[in-house]
Amino acid sequence: MMRYQANAFKRQANKALQDTTLQQALDRAQTGFVARRAKALELVDDFEHLKQQARAAKERALSEAAYLLERFECQVTANGGRVHWALDGAELNRTVIDICRQAGGRRIIKGKSMVGEETGLNPALEAAGFELVETDLGEYIIQLAQEPPSHIIAPAIHKTRHQVADLFARHHRQPPRTGDSIANLVAEARQQLRAQFLSADVGIIGANLLVAETGSVVLVTNEGNGDLSANLPRTRIVVASIEKIVATLEDANAVLEVLGRSATGQAMTAYTSFYQGPVQDDAAGSPQSYHVVLLDNGRSDLLAGPYRDILRCIKCGACLNHCPVYSNVGGHAYGSVYPGPMGSVLEPLLHELASTRPLPNASSFCGRCEEVCPMGIPLPRLLRQLRDRQHEQQLEPQGWRRGLGIYGWLSRHPRCFRLTLKLLRGALWLVPPPFWGQGRRPLRPAGRGTFVEQWHRASRNER
């Protein structure tokens, strides 16, 4: 698993700003995402209405999550599958390993899953002796590069085409390609993956939604790799976090209406699959056993608290794509599993405040994330609440803590406030340029006195 280094955000971000290759990759990808989403929204009569319906569907689900999850389990069981509950990441990994062992499997293929990233599932499976291949193109690329994903829906977004070509040339034992066009690269990866699909014993996929009334697992993909991973091996395992639950197929549809549009600018992704259970008829082939492993990892504690809104997140990635911070530093700078605004809220809640200190602060509160969030999650408000908690636990730097304390006191004592401003104005002339930071012009006071002073002087003169 990647090393968790969210506390090094600033150093990592500054490094990313200097990385010209990364900047190129981010530029191209980011503008693409933003433009495609905008276009998709233009084609809808009333996206606000779709948003409201999606949000309502998810709110309904959260308000009766316990009941719906049990209902989901009953339905999966009735369909011939089995639901496992994992309190934390370690339990999920253990459960998946046990299922794989019982299935007598050795080779595993996997569709993209952020829950798997959250729990460190891949390294756990490899440590347990399994052979594992990621089948989502982006995930496959970063598996070869031995890197964590840098985006929740586009894991290799930080790589340029040429970097991918080099990576393939190093890892694929085959004659060199006739050019690095994207189509060629995709064809090459497909060829490599095909053999893996056919020989795997276990397929692991993630889920976008869990439907309580039918016990369906809904998965959206564009490459079809998820379906091959789910359908070809004898054993199918779905890993998902509990907040993916919705009550009905209709509610699932309400979420799907906004998911594709917000994520990739598609009204619908190329594949939207509903998995319901193992294949009943032996003659039809695999899979013969079907497992759903549900992860809590602190989420049920969030349900009743002030951060509940983040559980509506459908991991579309719109807040990442539109965030000025994310789009300039990329996902790796965050040093966490989930990057960008939603990650900066979720990570401190899933881990601890002390190991994620910069994340809630890595926002200028520009509000664009909240504006594009299809689930109406008030991300800036949640980040602000996390800053409140950091302050309560004295996790902010001493200088800031003291400085803001003094400023707050002054703000409530107007005479002292005025006097301090007067002194500071004078002092501005004395501050040496390096104080303002490299690259900034020193600020010098303009005019004679503060605005309030000037105003009152002028009105005295008028009288």
């Binding site: 300039n328 530093v329 309560e392 703000s411 107007p414 900034r440 600020l443």
Partner: protein, 216 residues
């Protein structure tokens, strides 16, 4: 326009630094003191969208659990206007058209877009005064100020500032105008070297056409 204007000497700060910096209790105390100070005015006109947004949207949230102060906060929210918003609502007209021939880039600012929703008011005022004003590309993206964000993540903040100035330069703009003082402070400090664009608050451009002070 027939209003009597006062600038209370005891006004300090809207409390946003503490509010955004985790000092919630302190921000509440600052909010209460400003609410008292501003209780008796028909309108509270704020020459910065970010501070206006604090009064309009955030005081009611901040004081939500205290019925007395919450009501006072809602009352202030209803009386608060960002300067350009106020001028437009009061049907301000210039006394003459400007003779300033410069092309201006209008930095709309996140707060005037998303907090006060008054960025088009600013633009309309400037157009009415005869200025050549245009929005740069990606106008909806932050300039990188964000209060303490600019200090905590200086390089990132400067990068965003340069991207904003690049977009302004792409318009062949000769100056930047905004209704948000924080953004202007930041953009002015970043605008060094070849891109020495002067920055103006919208009031500095409207004053000379209203019989006031010349644009500096």
């Amino acid at each position: 326009m027939g209003h009597r204007l006062s600038v209370p000497r005891d006004q300090t700060c809207c409390g946003q630094p503490g509010y955004n910096g985790g000092h919630r209790q302190q921000a509440r105390a600052v909010a209460r003191s400003q609410l008292q100070l501003l209780a008796d005015f028909d309108f509270v006109v704020v020459p910065s969208a970010s501070c206006a947004g604090m009064f309009i949207n955030h005081y009611p949230l901040l004081l939500a659990d205290d019925p007395h102060w919450h009501e006072a906060a809602l009352d202030l929210a209803g009386r608060t206007r960002e300067l350009s918003q106020f001028l437009r609502q009061q049907q301000w007209q210039p006394q003459r058209r400007t003779s300033d021939p410069r092309r201006l880039a209008h930095h709309t600012s996140c707060a005037s877009r998303r907090e006060t929703r008054s960025h088009s008011d600013t633009r309309q005022l400037l157009l009415a005064a005869g200025y050549q004003v245009e929005e740069p590309a990606n106008a909806e993206i932050c300039c990188g100020f964000g209060g303490s964000f600019a200090a905590k993540f200086d390089r990132l903040s400067q990068r965003l500032g340069h991207q904003k100035l690049d977009a302004c330069a792409a318009l062949a703009a000769e100056a930047v105008v905004s209704a948000d003082l924080g953004c202007l402070l930041h953009l002015e400090s970043v605008a060094g070297g070849p891109r020495q664009l002067p920055v103006y608050h919208v009031a500095e451009l409207l004053a000379p056409v209203s019989g006031g002070r010349r644009t500096p």
